[in-house]
């Protein structure tokens, strides 16, 4: 046997060498191909990135839940506002949004505190209308996806929210009769109104329809309102409600566009190796991972608008104050009593079951000093932060979560987290990935010509 082998040794050696060379080159070729090959959840462009972009099923589920692809194309509850998506209402609402005449001193419009150039906020700690408001002005962008409005949710529709500031003495400081007369007497406004809602009633009799009357803080306007007949008050209120509905029609058009985070999620879902590697920096991806895991942000900042739209006490009432802001505790009561809520005659929907009101949470331990979770989309543009603008910088907000102040009032929903300085800066870097343009007709982003 051995002799046979030795006799054919040279031939065998040549053949073995050829095969060895072939095998070795095949192995190295396959290794190279495998690194670039399609695999299910592990797109990599190198050993270092592979771990960074590796997501388990649960993390993927949370990312997909946050992705803007899940956002409804049309904001919900349009059936409650019969002009919600009407182009003429949008145009009329656009005009009203920027019209300063709708205020007690002729100086305050919606856009005064919701400035398009400041992402529809005002950059102030607390809003400044005719007086200083006790709360921070939230953004309009994407607001239509909420089902509760204001920080305490005291309005349950976008259109009824618009009516609040109009009659609030610290904000627009006007009253509904004033606004009705303004529309009645201005040819352009009257024309826009009547195209949508039919002919206005005759408001020329100032005895029946005083210039200033409404259920507002101003004593004179209030007593004038009480003196009006039920029917006449209804005529004025109907006009007032319709103005809110056209303002809401305009606001429904102002939504966030996709951000770099959304591009990244799409890349992961599509297994697009190039896009995965090049969309977010390493720090930003690390921040995303913290957001959906260790930092626990995605518990409340969930869904495509990065908010659960619900109310949480996160210890933002920090000073022992004489009259602490009770947030949702008062807001829940107010929305149930509101003349404009879902159960009112002003709800245009055929279905008046109003489930949000029917199953509203009102218990003290759930609502005291609880405020609505804001959207984090474009959060870099909505400073100052929290319901009373307590924090100027995002880093301060993150420190609040990482090292919360003492519980002054109510019961906190905060979970204990402990992030390092590096992790805090990664998380902040991720939040900046939520920047995006506004998805709206550009003409709507400035005053009408």
């Amino acid at each position: 046997m051995l002799q046979t082998l030795i006799f054919n040794f040279r031939s065998s050696l040549i053949i073995c060498s050829i095969f060895l060379v072939l095998i070795v080159s095949l192995i190295s070729a396959c290794a190279a191909v495998q690194q670039g090959s399609e695999s299910e959840t592990e797109k990599t462009t190198g050993e270092q990135l592979s771990t960074l972009h590796r997501w388990d099923d649960r993390e993927l589920s949370l990312m997909k839940n946050l992705w803007i692809g899940n956002l409804l194309m049309t904001p919900p509850d349009s059936e409650r506002n019969r002009v919600a998506d009407n182009p003429e209402a949008i145009s009329f609402g656009h005009k009203l949004f920027f019209d300063k005449r709708f205020s007690g001193n002729g100086q305050v419009a919606c856009a005064s505190c919701h400035k398009p150039e400041l992402y529809f906020t005002d950059g102030l700690q607390m809003a400044q209308g005719m007086g200083t408001v006790t709360r921070n002005a939230p953004t309009i962008v994407g607001a239509s996806f909420n089902h509760w409005f204001f920080h305490d949710g005291r309005a349950d529709s976008l259109w009824s929210q618009a009516l609040g500031p109009l009659e609030n003495e610290l904000e627009h400081g006007g009253n509904r009769s004033q606004y009705a007369h303004l529309v009645y007497e201005d040819a352009e406004l009257r024309n826009s109104y009547e195209k949508l809602f039919g002919t206005l009633p005759d408001l020329s009799d100032k005895k029946r329809f005083p210039s200033n009357a409404g259920p507002v803080g101003d004593a004179q306007a209030n007593s004038a309102w009480q003196a009006m007949s039920e029917m006449d008050r209804k005529s004025i209120t109907d006009i007032f409600v319709n103005l809110g509905k056209v303002i809401a029609a305009y606001e429904r058009q102002i939504k966030p566009a996709p951000s770099r985070f959304d591009v990244y999620v799409k890349a992961v879902l599509d297994n697009d190796a190039g896009a995965i590697a090049n969309t977010l920096s390493d720090a930003e991806v690390a921040g995303l991972r913290l957001f959906i895991t260790k930092a626990q942000c995605a518990i409340c900042h969930t869904g495509p608008m990065f908010t659960d739209f619900e109310f949480h006490n996160i210890r933002t009432v920090t000073m022992p104050v004489k009259t602490p802001d009770l947030g949702r505790y008062n807001g829940a009561r107010q929305v149930l009593e509101s003349e404009f809520n879902c159960r009112s005659e002003y709800n245009d929907a055929a279905d008046k079951s109003c489930p949000e009101l029917k199953f509203i949470v009102t218990a003290k331990h759930d609502t005291v000093a609880a405020f609505k979770t804001p959207s984090l989309r474009n959060v870099s543009k909505t400073a100052p932060y929290m319901h009373a603008g307590q924090y100027q910088a995002l880093s301060e907000v993150l420190k609040h979560y990482n090292d919360p102040p003492k519980q002054i009032i109510g019961e906190s929903d905060l979970l204990f987290i402990s992030l390092t300085e590096t992790e805090l800066s990664q998380l902040e870097a991720f939040l900046l990935c939520l920047d995006s343009p506004i998805a709206a007709d550009p003409a709507l982003l400035s005053p009408p010509s």
Partner: protein
């Protein structure tokens, strides 16, 4: 070196005749061909999907690629046909629960039906039932106050006001009360 020795032993045992004949070259070719094929199949073998997940939720809930295996699968709550039946904690009732909307919606109030039978298989009529939700990992419940609003008949109860605020592991607890006894059943769903 070991491969060479192994190859030689295989060759000796399997191809002895060939090695002693003029056909030794094809024998070696066959041997190396097998080795070649073996290595190439290893190298291009599809990378196994590593199962990182602690939960077995399918991302695409509309078209599950695996049969319902987990008691937490949202599909179990999609309609009466799929609804799993649980026995209550003290054994008094057999209960199944399913949603009127499938897939289970996120951040939206929706209605469920609860079907309750006694352990003898009789529909339980007009019981007092309360419902509570919780995400144990996050210590919070539903953002709403759901209620059993109506006894529909045949052991069916209408449960309204359920709302899931976020994906993850939820428990839905039903407390069932008759005049002379009560019991509890907990459904788990992984959204």
């Amino acid at each position: 070196m070991r491969v060479w020795v192994l190859g030689r032993i295989v060759a000796e045992n399997c191809f002895t005749d060939y090695f002693h004949s003029r056909n030794f070259i094809p024998a070696w070719l066959v041997l190396f061909g097998c080795v070649f094929l073996f290595i190439s199949s290893c190298a291009t073998k599809e990378h196994q999907v590593m199962d990182h997940g602690k939960h077995d939720t399918a991302i695409d809930k509309n078209e599950p690629s695996v049969p319902i295996a987990s008691t937490q699968d949202p599909l179990l709550y999609s309609d009466r046909q799929h609804a799993a039946t649980l026995t209550s904690e003290d054994g008094f009732y057999r209960v199944s629960a399913f949603s009127n909307e499938h897939p289970l919606p996120m951040q939206k109030i929706h209605t469920w039906t609860l079907h309750v039978e006694t352990s003898e298989g009789q529909p339980l009529e007009n019981a007092k039932i309360t419902v509570h939700g919780i995400m144990p990992e996050h210590r919070h419940g539903f953002p709403t106050n759901p209620k059993v609003t109506e006894y529909i008949g045949n052991g069916d109860y209408k449960v309204e006001g359920i709302k899931f605020s976020m994906p993850g592991y939820w428990q839905i607890r039903f407390n069932i009360k008759e005049t002379n006894r009560r019991d509890t059943v907990v459904f788990e769903v992984n959204l």
